[in-house]
Symmetry: D3
Subunit: 256 residues, 6 copies
């Protein structure tokens, strides 16, 4: 199998860097770069929950996602100028919030909301998965601060959480971590969010005017599995000492 | 394993009926009932494509989805009154359109748009999968009419397409075709869209503040597989002679 | 005078059917068919009134109206997609609410709101008058349930209420209950809402780029009068035993 | 019968003044006062028609209506601040446009639009009928200018047009031209638009949580009839020489 | 230097008239004319402050600004029809509110809001400065009424406030109080809001695709200074006895 | 006079850095930091002008401005979520566009638009002036690329352009380049945009519930003058060789 256009192997991730404490105001913030995709992820703590959650003694985590107009090759119109948020944006922000909530013990968080903001400043494919990966780090920092300030007594994050994409291209078969050019031409595109223990949180596979078989699915799951474990290593490195607050789950990955 | 609250086995579908030609104006229309979930699906042919598609000699298929305010146990506010379409609605309508396009040869359709409208008049879980299943039948009827009227020369639909849900509940493990009560309490919820040949088109699994393993995923895929083949039988029955226009694909299902 | 295109006499109604308990969730619901016009009318009880009514010890009745995109010959764009409700829709929903309130003793209803939803699934003229007629039945059922559940002690509906249209066409003069083709070509179009006692509740006559005389008005009123009494018979049949809860008002119709 | 609170007889209009050429920019403009109700009505000529009218060789007349926030006793929020136009506003502007079109020969107007703007600067009941009455004068002036400038060759206005309200109050029975206090307490409220020939253009009667009989309707029509003829005298006076351009229709009023 | 197109000297204001008590409902109202620019300014008292001000024991003053569609030579689309308020409108209403607040002792006003509405009925340049000048008079009248009704004990307005424009044109150099034609062609446009004591409240100078020097700035300030003092004379005349409630500030104007 | 809270002299700027080519997609981009205020400014070239400019043979420059939700101490709601752009945002983006246009020869730019996007990622006062300063550099780079690619033949930028703020505080009198804490408490706040030649482009001074004298104005102008010349040095350094394309204007600053 020949190399991909950027020189990667089929199952190779792009370089990842996670710059912690990127902004001074938020309780947690990172600039995550996955190849040329760059996202500012912040976590803001609000000492109340939305109306539908009140009085349940539980916390809430919600996310918003946006792109700078010129994060992309062609300038895109701002959603504020259009006066409405697009379907794609809503899908992504719902995914980010849902994924993060799966690794947080909400009652242990107490009646407060963590607002996650993911703002893509440069896009080259995989912005939603980079957002999940970066947001997890920003959230962990904000939560660590709550523990440090004795706002909460037990650490409510139950496992690591990271995301990546896999797909199927005509030239390379199953490929990991698609960049924009690959994403535009792939027959199948699958986003995966997994925990440190190797369990699935979200799995969204789409045949782009195409379909895929059980065998192809199995290959994609395998590629994503190993990729995500490497991304979690990067999160651990970025978090430094705070990483040790997250329980080390014995991998529950079962053989396929 | 004990029976589900409505008396079904874990891998049993709810009763499905598809009433063809439900409305007089649309080119294709059905009333689909899946248990107590009832959706009016219509297909409307417009003799042009949206601006971003013009001049490519290809057709387009797009979908809209809505619920009557009192389709649900509690009345929900109309999206027209709120002045905006919710994220959940957008996700669903994007899914329906994308899924249908995967089994249509768009160049063979010619430069025209098929508008799919799925309006839920009664909701009891699985409205998005019932919408896909019903919309496929409405679309097929509209396309058959195009062939009959000699607007297009070759039948552009390449395979059957149907959808259902699977999930994991505490009491029953993997269950097929969740009703509203089951959907509200399941740990994991997965929507699957598949073709007559047993290939995947969409696969969206979500741990609801939970996670799931590779083994659990395999069980869910298996349950969905056989459920969808039964649903396709129902589509075939509803379509009558028009069903024979759809190519019979040798099942490409590969062993897990 | 020759027969109308659908074979009716000038003063003849289209066939009406009212299917009670059409949906399982709402407190009251019907599917009303007036010729090819079909409307789902539901009544939902909310145990509070809007802010401007609070503390007055009175109930409130409000209505919303919409059409499925393909209720019409040409697909119409959803109001939720356009992000705004059209003037025609607003006029109709204000009319429905106001008309229903005229036959309800609001203090006897108590501080609760009845939400009426009229969703046109197939349109062939007269959707607003069919909505009033159907909504009256759905509302009566919801109110009967409140009485049955001892939420209210005296039955607050004071009379029957039904609606129809009359118009003036070139070929047929005054005609009753216009279908879409007749409505599009009539010179004058008048919607009438009347009570069981033969009193007027709403009377909206419009010369469509035309005018009408006192004599023509008198003929239209007469045709509508007798039509509405027949429609009320149909409501009575649909309601069954619940019809007897509505006071039988000695007709107060005065000679013209 | 005792006098009304402002000293009028039951069938007496409030004083009307129509100040022509009130603003310098519009092709036609008036300030109309009906009692304390004051409306600025302008007519603007645009040399094209809306898209749905193009190529038909006909003109179009459309109207917009608004109130200054402090036209009323309590300040009302601007519709521009709320970001949407209310149902009441839409009803009124549709009524004004439709009424004016009924006395204009649209093909004779040519492919141009007359925009009518009615802005209420002080409200004391009857703002919509004052708007129709004032708008007719503004429109006539704009059309006269088109004739003068040889843009159109034959005068396209076919008759006078004016509007007023009638109602039924507990103390006074049928009353003409209701002010705000009367309008708020009347059982029945009817707006009438009529031509110089005494024909009906619009007739909108509403029982406000009440009903009305055939006899009451006849009395209201009679009161409105004679009121409107007096209002037309006022329009004639305001128009001066331009009034003579409008054909004098032999009254077609038929005996009741 | 030759005369301006309307015959004025470079440093001459247009004729100003301020008609007090123009409308019957508002607590304060004027019709201000500055040349052909005419604005209705009203002041409405609301006995509460916006949420962000509550509990601070201070009052609030806020303003809204709009133009009738045909205030201008070409009809402009209503902001309510467009569903959004334009940037220019927002700038102007923020300016009016901010300017008025600078001469009001907000704690002395008590926890109430004065809503200022400036509606331009005819525009010929300088609508924002005419609005400030007229709004000051309307506000003063509303405040005087609060004092008269013993709602507040000490008069909270600390000085007169008025506004005008200055600019630089190719033919005339520095000119005062620009009309629409002058405003459209001036190289520099500056709006000034000043107090009776000759202090600045707002100063907004803009090179229209051009720039201006320190010397030019000084000339513009001088022209505006003397113009504003004359406008204040006009406000004093309109207010009559109420003018004496405003403290007479010894001019603090310092030599340039 | 004592030092400011961050140790600066009254007439001292905060440290400025301008990082060129910050993003890979835009034709021009910088990250500008002024103290803790950080703004990403991009310039995008579109090969057409807005409809109102077409056919005039001139270019156009327009700007949009936004803040990340957590650029501020408290999280602010996204304008896209609110569905409308705030007045403050509109004021700022209009200012940026207008200011840049004052130093560009629009006919020499040709019929194309330069879109400026200023996205504040961290806010500490002076975001609008930092945006102008940074946007000038991004625009210059985009224009230099047009020259390089021979899209335009003569360099259309006529002078440097930069902005800063001045204000009056109780403790320090006139201060230059206010940070957020100073801006919140200053009595007077003035934003200035000036050219390399020392001419004014925009001058917006506001007494915040306060006023200011001619003498104070003169001091503020003087402080801003020298500050802006220093900022231009920084722009020159960031631009490197491209700086030499901008004509060196003999300072036209005149003595006050």
């Amino acid at each position: 199998m020949m190399m991909r256009t950027d020189g990667r192997q089929a199952d190779e991730l792009r370089p990842i860097t996670i710059e912690k404490d990127y902004l001074k105001h938020p309780e947690g913030s990172v600039l995550i770069s996955v190849g040329d995709t760059k996202v500012i992820c912040t976590a803001s703590v609000e000492e109340r929950v939305p109306p539908f959650m009140r009085g349940q003694g539980k916390g809430w985590i919600t996310a918003e996602y946006a792109m700078l107009p010129r994060a992309t090759g062609q300038r895109t119109i701002r959603e504020s100028s259009k006066g409405k948020v697009q379907g794609r944006t809503m899908e992504i922000q719902r995914l980010i919030g849902r994924a993060l909530r799966s690794v947080v013990n909400l009652p242990a968080l107490g009646e407060r909301t963590i607002w996650i903001d993911c703002d893509v400043i440069q896009a080259d494919g995989g912005t939603r998965t980079a957002s999940v990966t970066g947001a997890f780090v920003a959230m962990t920092m904000a939560v660590a601060k709550l523990v440090e300030n004795k706002k909460i007594t037990s650490f409510p994050i139950t496992d690591f959480l990271a995301a990546t994409s896999v797909g199927i291209s005509k030239e390379h078969g199953v490929i990991l971590d698609l960049n924009y050019a690959e994403d535009s031409t792939a027959n199948v595109d699958m986003n995966m969010v997994m925990t440190g223990a190797g369990e699935f949180v979200e799995l969204q596979g789409t045949g782009e005017e195409s379909t895929f078989s059980h065998v192809q699915l199995a290959s994609m799951l395998e590629a994503a599995d190993q990729g995500i474990q490497k991304i979690i290593e990067e999160q651990r490195r970025a978090l430094g000492p705070a990483a040790s607050l997250i329980p080390s789950n014995i991998s529950k990955v079962d053989p396929i």
